[in-house]
Each structure stands twice: as structure tokens, then as C-alpha cells.
Symmetry: D2
Subunit: 331 residues, 4 copies
């Protein structure tokens, strides 16, 4: 397991200075905490016999820690969270998983509450996470009975969770996985809750992202893009960061794209964004986590095998994956 | 919690005689066990404070036990399984949940393994179920990474599970919930596995159901319809039973429809089927579990509240629900 | 072009005797005309230079005319209607295209009004068709602005068309092509119109078909299945016929399936239905019109080329197509 | 009907100076014509008795002509093209419909070839359009048999059309209407054709738009956004213009957004874009052409009625439509 010491070390290794985010989580005077920046959703390394390899996880984190990330998202889809046992989650759980800097002493973790979860269970999980030091909880839309999940039900759910969660809540809408897009009117209502600080939107609909920014502009509410493929466009319409699987392998480049957008260098940003689209699609929609892990191996991280039922890439798929990186000058 | 005594009592109360299914689970001479018949997927009663009400569950089961069901499916979608805690599942778990009669001595349970589950975890769950007396495991398609779940991955998953499961496996395809239809070619391949006895198909595509029956006709493979709405049509193309939410409230009628189909009284069957379509849609797709539980209250069972985030029906919805039953002569 | 003489000849060659449908189109005493039976939607033969080959069309019709069809549907999807020029349509138009027997003197044609059509234009087309002798008009849901096509708009459209059409109207719902399923409540309302005699439903949702039969049972309203894949199931829930592309190549078999269903020989019907599913899918969804035409060549009809942008099958596709027929014993 | 004189007058009234686009359509030296800029897809005015009102059309065009548009798109979806008769289309047809300025002498028209069209018919329509003076043809993906429309078929179709069309071809992908997204690999192949100058992409997937710009960057290929909702984001990833229904009512604002993007004033662009999203959705997806025409009435244009089956807005819908404009400060 990864102890707090490891995470403390990882945190200190991160190149982004604490002083750059004055105040940070200590959100005095009614301001919501600042969650802007880039987060890689880290993978969970497995050994050849499908055990979690904590040593490799630590190594990966230290390597990733050299980039100016805002923090890490763990136990998300890219972490094969659905395939972890309860005990494995506890081994990882007490450690600061998503480091939303600056959080020097407290452990931190941003967590996905998986779709099939009751409101009450979600509340309890945020409490557990706070106890082990998490800084924020990223709460996916409940979707198992999605035919019944209208705006009223979703507002009720998130309000209850945010009321009782000891840590800030980040909404999470990922229609490709859940079949459910958190309605904009629900987002607007929820943005007024003092303990709901933002949303991660993975749908890729930049019209919607712009509208959310617009309609929550008086609420100190922050939008994170859910993928590197539409990161520039999201910044252009007012997003403040992104949770990007691609940052696990092209961390420097994704952070550079952030910087170009923030400093208004849109032409260079466009060129860089263009070269990231195919690699991003390759490690997400096209080849999934098997593709991401294979690419990590190429870039000096430990990727390793996935757990079943996920299958390894075929030779032809691997070749196509490589082409998506070489044709854009990354390999 | 419900102890084995309760389940044993429920089992004995069932009106369907053991002798009518000679052999049953004792599948000698290479025959697969017979799973034909009607199963209500039972709901989980909650108190006003959202606790599981085991007494009401027992009462409901005894009432349901007066109909000639083949058994019960528990901890499925209709049981609000995703909203049960691990400990609550243990309280229910050791009891025979899905009674696939005739199974006089062994406890029995048919269980949904929820989508986010690794192959290895699925195997372990079948072992646990067998230990507490389950007769069969109904295993839903893994779908969390459905972009990667092609036929090869699904065949690998189910083969591994069936190889190691001590109890028979029933495939379960429910595209409305999972976004994934178990491909027919995968079903055909898997039908040859000695420990895979059938499939519950909830998609409602009767062309597909007919094709599955046709292409597995030499495999002693059994198809169950996943809803009462297309039960007659499924029998017409070769299905042998159904898992029908509507059977929780119109148990006698669903069993009568089964009998009419089995005895070739198609005209009467058609008339009865017609009158069940709207009530069935009302307690499933249209009003979900809140609708089903409300209807249970009307029919002398304990329905009671759902757990959040599921919301109660509005007055207008309740009226529309009632109309779907009264207009067909059931209330 | 095909003159009335040709069609008259085709009509007389049909083996189904007029006397078997007493009254027929002369629907006295408020009864709607009887449209029960099987209809092949005929293809449009083209020469090697993509001209319409009227001689081959006539030959095909005479061969098809030896089966006990109820009539023909022409200028539908399978007729590559969207690829015909206006003048080509006139060449075919004046002829009786869909022969709804018995209609000994009047020409007859059942026609698809393609999606992009105003209400007024649809009315005018039914008038033109009546003038050239059509017996009925099959009117597809207007769908170009499907976001605006709610029940009210659709009821308004069909009511206006049926009010002014000199020939009976058959509703046509084909969601796979139009993205729009004619809502059941609209069907029920429209079934009360004296000039709307039925619906062709191509969605394959047998629950819906049963519900339509049930809710229109007092309206003398007839349902035709839109495909041979769910023909038996549709009869089982109350349909009275089908428009089946497969009937272009396995006409005898589709008519035999009709007869088995009508005479209550459900076991034999099931066996036959099973063997028709794969061939049916092959000439429809799987390989489209190129597949249907290729198969026609094998069965002694003239299939010939399609018009661009439709492409010929590859050798591998042709092999797969053939396998769908040989593995079921038809080739 | 609108004669060439009217269109010539409209053209000269356009405020965008010819000299600003030196060369224009006379694309010497192998350069493709420049189609950058904003185009309103104009509506077709009807009288109270549903006749085309050419006088109102002319008035609308003259009013629209005061904004710095690049030209007009006519006979598209917003022009209720599917509801025009052939003769009505001829009345409008000979006039320059889409004015791609500067084209002072030639008539010009950009046209939608509606989905149900054979390759050969599409070719003939481009010839007809060229004869009446069109500058370019916007050719929507053939989609009627979309199951057969793979990349190979689509490349064959567009190549044939572009080979034989006397005027430049603009690809048009609008998955919401056609159920078909022109695959990126097909776009890339087609971008190399000398007579294919660009694509209008209405899908709203900015990742895809960026990828198309990136992969065609050596082909002098131009991308137009299909809606004002994602116009800024499209410019940010390299698009050069847009066909925007909203420009029919907020023409000055859409042109201002273009200018802000082109001059790198991204902050102001973002603020303006935000205020255009809801109005844009209102006149497109939410309330369709009835909404657009109603809004035109408010803004001093002639909107008037739609043809059936399109229905007028209800009072409640009209109120919601108005709110989308007032809440953003436009009314």
C-alpha cells in the first residue's frame, strides 16, 4: 500500500510552487477553492499475476510529479477502479490520491463514486475520503436507473451529498459512460451550493461547456474539460483546466497547452492542440486503457497489463496506436 | 435478515410441484439444468427511514409464493441492488434468493453481478453465492469499458467465469442499462459451455431472440424473456420462460400467459398479452421502481419507499400509472 | 415503361383468387378495405449503364406473380426510389405498382412518400397516384425536421392527407431510416379516420406492435410487419400481413409462413421462421439492396447493379451473404 | 420569382468590399477559392396561404445585405427546401442563391442536395446550378441507405460529383439530420481533390473539427462551422467561417464575433459567444424554423408562417423563445 509518506513526497516533488496558489483550499471569505489546472487520471499498475503493484505506482507518481500538474485524479475510469476489490481500494484509499495543491499536510484524494450508488452511500464515501485526507470528491451522476434521473432527482442527490460532505464536491458528467448528461439547468442550480465548486465535463460538447460557464458566471463555479481533445476549445470558452488521460504520457505537452491558452498564445496553442488530438483519441476512445498502458511503457512509465475482462491490444492495434503518436511527432 | 428457514418455508409454499420437473438441478447425463418458467425479480422493501424491512420482504415472498412461479430473482435492478450496502447484501445474501425450483435441499439464488466488475471478482462472487446456497448466477455483461467489450473479450470473460463457477451461469444481456448487447455470435459460442445454461434477454428484439434459439438449438440452451411485454412473442419463437417485473403485481396473470402459450392457446394468449403491455411498461420503463412499488401497495403487497436518488411519483404520474391498470381491467 | 397492359397481365397471373376476398376495395357498409397478406417491395432493375430496365422488371413481376402475394409495393426503399429521376418515376408511375388485390379494373399502386415532403405535396401525390390507378398510398412519417414532429404535428399531417386523398392511406413508421417512431398515441388517434386503414411498422418492436393492435381493436385497423424477421411474432400478437424484402427471393417460403401462422401451426411456423431470420437480415440490414439484388440473381430473378452511391458487394461480403442462405438450407 | 437583377442588387448592397478578397472565385495558380466568412442560411417566406412570397424574400435579403456577410446559403434546411415544389425551386433557382462574394457578374448559389439522391442526379444538379449562375454547391452526405455509406462509398460519390461539377463543391456533414458523420479519413482523402474546397461541419464536435483542420492543413481546405453555438471554438481550432441560422436575426453580432476571433480579441469574443448560445439553440434545435421565423418577426424581418407539417409555436414556447433573447440582452 501507499502510505501518507509516499504521497507527501510525491506532493513535494511537484514542480508547481505552493505560493502560486495563495489561499488554496483554505477558502476564506466565502470563496470556493481553486481547482484550476491539469490533472492526469492515473492508472493502477498491476503485476503479471494481476496484483496491484504499489511500487510501480509510486514510481509513476514521482515521474509525473515533475510536471506542473495541479494534482492527480485516482480511482477513476483510467485507474480501472471498477476492477479493484474493496481491500485494494483501502490500500490505496488512505493515501492522498488526487492532490489538489497546495495541500501540504492533509492527504488528498479526488474520487469517483461509481454509478450504482445510493445517495446515502455517496455521502458516506465522502466522509470516509475526508477522514483519509481527500481534498475533494468528484461525484459522477447516479445513472443506474437513468430513466428516472431527471433534473429534480439529480439536484436532490447532489444537494444532499454536498450538504453532508466534509470536503468540496465536483460534479462529474460523462455521458459516454453513463448514458446521462447532467442537465444544464441542474448544473446552474447546483452551482449555487457553497460546497459544490465545479464540474468535470467529459461530453466534449463545447457549446454546452460555454453555456455552463456563462450561466454560472456569478457563482464562482469552475469547469474542467474531461479530455485533452477539446482542451483548447474549452479554455477558449472559459474552462479553467482539464482532467486528461493523455497527461499520463504527454504531461509536459498538456501543461504547455494550458500555459499557451492562459497566456493568450492561441496560434501556438492551436498548433499544439492539433498534434494532441489523435494521440488523445488513441489512449481513450480508440484503444482505451490497454492503449494508455501500452503507451506508458513507451514513454518510460510502467504501464503493464490490465485486469480481465480488458484484453491486450493485438499487434495491428498496437501498430495503429504507435502511428497516432509517430505521425504527430511524439515518437 | 432472512434466514434459511424463511426461504425454506417460502420454497415449500410455492404451488408448483417438484414432481413436474423431474431431475431438475440434478442434471444427470450431460443435460443442463432446466430453468424454464416465470420469475418475479423481487423488490427490496424499505422502512420510512430507508432501512431494509426484512419482515415485509418475507411477507411479500409468502404472498408471491402462492403462484406457480419457477423461482425468484433477487438483488437485481428491481431489488434496488445498486443501493444496498455490502452488509445489507450479506443479510440477504445467505438466503436462497432466486429459487430455481425444484431445489429442495440446496439454497438457491440468482444474482446480478453489476456492470463494474472484473472477471476475477465475478468468479469470486459466484463462489460466495454457491457457498450460501445459490442455484445459479445470472451474470450481466461487463460494460464499464464497453468500447473494449467486443465478442472476444466477452467470450473470454464468461468462459472464465463459467469454468470456475460452482453453480450454473445464466448470461444476461440488458442493452438499455448497459449500452451493450451481447453479440449473437458470442452467445452461440458460449452456449456450448457445459456450465452456461441459458440467457436472459431484456432487449425486446424478438428477431434476435428467435435467432438465438435457432442457432443454439443443438446446445440445450434456454432463453428467458426479460420482460412481460414481449413474453408471448418470445414463447412463439422458442423462449422457455421470463423474468418479469410485472409478476410482482400480476403474478397469476403472467403465469396464466405462460400456460396459454405452453398449451398452444394462442388466441387467448394474445388477448391476455395485449392487456399486460401497458401495465408492464408502466412498472418498468415508464415509471420504474417507484411505479412498481406503488402498484404493489395497490395489489396487497408491501411496496413502500425507494432509496434516494430515486424519487416518489408525482400525483399526476400516480394517476397515469393507475390508468394503465384500470383501462386494462386490472384495477 | 410499363403500361397498364403489363400490370393487368401481372395481376391476372397472381395465383390468389379474387373470390377469396369478397368485396375487396369496394368497402361497403363502412368497412375499411382489407390489406392483409404478404407484399414484396420490388426492386428496380438497372442495365449495365444504370438505365431502368423495364423488360427485366416485367419479367421479375411475372415470376413473383406465381406466389400467393396480396400485392406488390413499389418505389419503396428497396426500389431505390430515392435514386429515380422524376421522369423515371412517371414511366413506372402510371402502372399499377402495388397491386392490392382484388382490384380488377382500377390500376393500383402503393407508394412511399419520401421523408422530405410537405403536407400539401403529399396530398398532391396521392391525387396523382389515384389518377394513374393506385389502390392505396403508404405514407411515411415526415421526418426532415424530426425535432418538431411531435404527435400533434403528425396527427395534423396524416389527417390532412387522409382527408384529401382519394385512395386509402397506410401509415408507415420506419425509425431506422427516419429517426422517428410514429407515437402509439398518434397511431390510435389516426386509426379512427375512415380513410386510414392500417400501418406498416418496420421497427421490429413486437411489444409496440401488440399494443397498437390492442389499442386499435375497435377501429378496423390493420397492422403489417415491415420485415420477415419478426413476421411470426407479429402474427402472434395480431398483425395481418407483412411487407417483406425477403419475399423477393424466398416468396414461397414467406407465403408459407403466413399460412402456417393463419392456420395455427405454430410449431412448424417457428421452425420456418428460424430459418428465415439470417437470410432476411442479410438482404436488409446487413448487405442492403446490393445484397438483395445479388441474391435475386441466384434465385432466377434479375437483380443486376445498383445505382451509385450504392456499391457492389466485395467478394468476402458475397461469400458471407451466400453462407446466410446455405447454412439455412436455401441454397 | 427573384430575377438576376434582384440578386445583383442584393450583392451590391453587401457592405463587404469586393477589393477585400482579391481574386475571389477566379482562383488562379491552383489555389482553391476562398470561402471564409459568415453565411446566413436564409428562410423562405410564405404568405398566409402558404405561397412563396418573393417580395418578402427580396426585402429580407436587402436587410441582411447590410451586414458584412460572405454570402448567403439558400434552399437549405432553414429554407424549408424539402417543402418547396420543383417549380418553386425553379423560381428561386435561376437567381444567385448563395452569394459567395466577390462574384460580381456571375450568379451564385450554394445548394443543398438533399439526402435521397443518386450520384448521377447530384452531378446533374450541380450542372443546372452552374448554368443559372451558382458559385458553389454544398453537397450533403447521401444517407438514405446509410447502412451502406462507408468511407469507400462516400469517397466514390463525392469524387464523381467533384469530377463533373462545373463549380466548386463544399462537403456537408450534418449527423443530426442524416444519421451519418462523414468520416474524417474520407474528408482527408477528398480534401486533395482540386474541386473540393471545404466542408461545412454541423456536428458540433470541436475535437473533430480540429482534427480535420490538422489533417488537411496541406490541402488548402477550408472548414465552416455549421452553427453559431460553437463558432468561437471552431475559429480557435482553425475554422475560417460559419453557416449560422442565428445570423438571420443577429447578423451584426455574429459578424462581430467573427471579427473578434480573427483579430485575436478572445476575451471579448468569449463574452459575446456566451450570449449567443441560448439564442442560437432557441432558433435551431429547440424551436426549429418556427422559432427562427418568429424571431425574425421580432427583429424587423419577415418571418411569417411555415408550411405544414411544421406547426406554429404555442404561446408557452413563444415565451420561452423570447426569454432566451431577453435574458441575454438582445431584446
Amino acid at each position: 500500500m501507499l502510505g501518507p509518506r509516499v504521497w507527501s513526497s510525491v506532493r513535494q516533488g511537484l514542480s508547481r510552487a505552493l505560493s502560486s496558489t495563495v489561499g488554496g483550499w483554505a477558502s476564506g471569505e466565502g470563496r470556493k477553492v481553486d481547482i484550476s489546472g491539469i490533472y492526469p487520471p492515473v492508472t493502477t499498475p498491476f503485476t503479471a499475476t494481476a496484483e496491484v503493484d504499489y511500487g510501480k505506482l509510486e514510481e509513476n507518481l514521482h515521474k509525473l510529479g515533475t510536471f506542473p500538474f495541479r494534482g492527480f485524479v485516482v480511482q477513476g475510469s483510467n485507474g480501472e477502479f471498477p476492477f479493484l476489490t474493496s481491500s485494494e481500494r483501502l490500500e490505496v484509499g488512505p493515501s492522498p490520491v488526487l492532490c489538489l495543491l497546495p495541500s501540504p499536510t492533509a492527504a488528498c484524494r479526488e474520487d469517483f463514486l461509481l454509478p450504482p450508488a445510493a445517495t446515502q452511500a455517496t455521502v458516506e464515501m465522502t466522509v470516509s475520503m475526508a477522514q483519509v485526507g481527500a481534498d475533494a470528491a468528484m461525484v459522477v451522476t447516479p445513472c443506474y436507473y437513468h430513466g428516472r434521473m431527471n433534473s429534480a432527482a439529480l439536484i436532490h442527490h447532489y444537494t444532499k451529498v454536498a450538504d453532508l460532505s466534509p470536503i468540496p464536491v465536483v460534479l462529474y458528467s460523462v455521458p459516454a459512460n453513463t448514458g446521462l448528461d447532467l442537465p444544464v439547468d441542474a448544473v446552474v442550480t447546483l452551482s449555487q451550493h457553497p460546497n459544490i465548486v465545479g464540474i468535470k465535463d467529459s461530453g466534449g460538447d463545447v457549446t454546452r461547456i460555454g453555456l455552463i460557464v456563462h450561466k454560472t458566471r456569478r457563482q464562482d463555479f469552475q469547469v474542467l474539460a474531461g479530455s485533452a481533445g477539446f482542451l483548447l476549445a474549452s479554455y477558449a470558452v472559459g474552462a479553467v483546466g482539464g482532467v486528461c488521460a493523455l497527461a499520463n504520457v504527454l504531461g509536459a505537452q498538456v501543461c504547455q497547452l494550458e500555459r499557451l491558452c492562459l497566456t493568450g498564445q492561441w496560434e501556438d496553442a492551436q498548433k499544439l492542440q492539433h498534434r494532441l488530438i489523435e494521440p488523445n483519441t488513441a489512449v481513450t476512445r480508440r484503444f482505451g486503457i490497454p492503449g494508455l498502458k501500452k503507451t506508458m511503457d513507451w514513454f518510460g512509465y510502467y504501464g503493464g497489463p490490465c485486469r480481465a475482462p480488458l484484453q491486450e491490444l493485438s499487434a495491428a492495434q498496437e501498430e495503429a496506436l504507435r502511428l497516432d503518436f509517430t505521425s504527430n511527432g511524439w515518437l
